[in-house]
């Protein structure tokens, strides 16, 4: 009992002495949803933050004002700028719900590892937000372009890219942690998603934009930004992005495969699985990429009878051929144009032939660009929607 008598007062004393160091009421902070970093005019960086205006997101309290406010500052370190934002904003900023990081093209070409370290180190950020490269436009504009359905621009971009990744594979699933992992790995070079604005950016920066059936400006995803170490060196288009994702872990996509002259079949690809086998053939590394996937036919413009096995076989062959050439073209393009291993072939090599990889790991990208790549696709066409024969099919 005596110990209790000592314990309780000291606990209470502590509580009173302490005050509350970490309390921050919800209405004393502002949540940053997106951060944009671009080349500054007077200093190294110009950082823009998009802050959510929560009361406009609430159905009851909304007055039709802007759901998100942005503010920009210029300086030499991101960390300082982010803490200095109150030059223009009222509340303490919180970054835990940041969903997008938009990086301007010029900054990306200069190298971005300088501020990535801050993002990883600071406990404030969740390290799984989407990395984006603003192509041809000011990165800050991405945070300013409104959209009627998802009111906060940065959340819109985040949703957009993750949905595109899940539905069609047109965006890499590159979170900050993946980016840094790729950066530190010898056998892989990082990529990020590229995006741009269609229309006039200025017009999109108002709530009025939301009242138009066809928004004056719209953020669209355009493909993949390819990095060498932490420097941007080029882009891949959407198709190529999908092909890149296919070598990684594609969830599903849709293909348009020619089946005759100017005629196409639409194929939905599901449950794709790609395995890579690495090998050394003398001094040149070679890789077999095996793609096994299921598919079903969404529509056809051809007259082939879909009740026949032969048709299925023919279509399967068409699809496989197309997939193989498509992916191979993309890989070859990267090999020839950029000479960086964004596919992580080096990591495969490291896993499968550790000693060989260790010997060449410092010049892996050269090894990669001369590597032989062999793509084998194995696509199973399972079914063709809810109808059997197409009405196009002529009876024999």
């Amino acid at each position: 009992m005596k110990a209790m008598k000592l314990l309780l007062p000291s606990l209470l004393l502590l509580g009173l002495l302490s005050g509350c160091w970490d309390t921050k009421e919800l209405n004393d902070v502002a949540f940053v949803t997106g951060v944009a970093v671009e080349q500054g005019e007077d200093a190294k960086f110009k950082v823009t933050v998009g802050v959510a205006n929560a009361s406009q997101l609430n159905v009851q309290k909304s007055e039709g004002n802007t759901p998100s406010v942005t503010f920009s500052l210029e300086g030499n370190s991101i960390s300082e700028l982010l803490d200095k934002m109150n030059v223009g904003l009222t509340r303490e900023l919180r970054f835990s719900h940041t969903r997008t990081l938009v990086i301007g093209e010029e900054v990306a070409r200069e190298g971005i590892s300088g501020f990535l370290d801050y993002l990883e180190r600071s406990g404030q950020f969740r390290n799984n937000f989407t990395m984006l490269i603003a192509q041809n436009i000011s990165a800050a504009d991405i945070l300013k372009t409104t959209f009627p359905i998802q009111k906060i621009p940065s959340l819109k971009v985040h949703n957009q890219s993750s949905t595109l990744f899940e539905q069609w594979g047109g965006a890499p699933d590159m979170k900050l942690s993946d980016f840094i992992a790729a950066l530190t790995s010898r056998g892989r070079q990082p990529v990020a998603e590229a995006l741009t604005i269609v229309g006039t950016p200025k017009q999109g920066q108002s709530v009025e934009n939301n009242k138009k059936l066809e928004p004056e400006s719209l953020i669209t995803l355009v493909g993949l930004a390819v990095f060498k170490e932490d420097k941007l060196i080029g882009y891949l288009n959407l198709e190529e992005t999908r092909n890149y994702v296919w070598t990684q872990d594609l969830i599903q996509t849709t293909l348009t495969v020619p089946c005759g002259e100017e005629k196409y079949i639409d194929v939905r690809i599901l449950n794709s699985k790609s395995t890579i086998h690495a090998n050394y053939d003398g001094e040149t590394p070679n890789f077999q990429v095996e793609i096994v996937a299921e598919s079903f036919l969404n529509g056809t413009q051809c007259k082939d009878n879909l009740e026949k096995i032969e048709t299925y076989k023919k279509f399967e062959k068409d699809i496989e051929e197309m997939v193989e050439t498509m992916i191979l073209n993309t890989v070859t393009k990267v090999q020839e144009e950029y000479e960086v291993d964004i596919f992580g072939f080096g990591e495969v090599m490291r896993r499968q032939h550790y000693q060989r990889f260790e010997a060449v790991k410092d010049q892996w990208d050269e090894q990669f660009s001369k590597a032989d790549i062999d793509i084998t696709a194995n696509i199973f066409l399972r079914r063709a929607g809810t109808s059997n024969k197409s009405f196009l099919t002529e009876d024999e």
């Binding site: 209790m4 000291s10 969740r126 942690s177 530190t184 550790y354």
Partner: protein
Amino acid sequence: MQRELVEKISLTQLFILVSAFLFGSAIVVGIGGEAKQDSWIAVIVACLLSIIPVWFYTFLLSRIPEKNLFEIMEIVLGKVISKVFILLYILYFFYVSARVLRDFGELIVGDMLVNTPIEVISITFMLFVAYILYLGLEVLGRFSEIYAPYLMGSIFAIGILLLFSRELHVKNVMPILPEGIGPVIGTVFPELITFPFGELVAFMMILPYASKVRYAGKTTIFALIVSGLILAYSSFVQIATLGPEAKLRSKFPLLTATGEISLWDFIERVDLIIIFVVMFGILVKVSIFFYGGLKGLELVFNRPYRAFIYPMAMIIAFMSIIISKNFAEHISEGISMVPWIIHFPFQFGIPLLLFPFVLWKAKVLKSEGKKR
């Protein structure tokens, strides 16, 4: 004097205490990082190897039954010499508990309560430890019985949630042992074998209070193996989620790994689980070291150990603050010096030194017993 209660802990409780003790800070600070993707193998190897010292400890205890390490020292080395050793051990136990407490404080201050001074965390936590030890070892045993299922459940849940969030990449663990067993052994000695496994030396103070002393040794070894496997599992999950480099970079890898969990846009940032797991583990660890030290004080200063609880708790809280200026010092001390200078002599040196004396004394006692 208070009514002398013979404190007994059941074998289940002992099992739980040993496992929670081993998880303690090991699960949060991440162990065996130097072995890269093979750190889970290193953990298993270290766990299996440390069966030997643990068996040795129980063997030592079984020679002179129902006496704890300090009492054995007193019997074997005589009053004066033993007191010196006991005082050294007390210092060791207190020092380690202060270190463990610091680990915990760093975690809380680094992740959850950024602006809260670390000493407040230390002091509040020590107050709790003081309270539970004041209630007695038995209460500590029962207390851990309540929390153990949640501890185990949480550790497994982390892996499963990560699996469902598609963040568990088994390829990160590959290739297994690319450079042979060398790096693994390098991390096992001296890092892993002393921390966390060698620290079981503190249980030499607890084992004699198990209700079925005969099985206590076996239970400890069983618990050691089980928790070694779970630690290896946790290590595996960390590597598979983060990759070996990120794991090595991270201050608290398990916490970083849990940050990756994201399910249905709802189960995100389940830091709470980690904080809970860690808090319980740290509690057991600090309490057991602290209890060991208190028992020593009881022997040296001839006062019931409950009298020392509050003052000593405050000393440990104080120690955990002055023990190092910054995190870098804390870690570099932990890696470069503590294993060699502090852990080794107390975990292996003194017990080994004691070994021939104990054998001799046991023989003497036995023959005396026969005479009588």
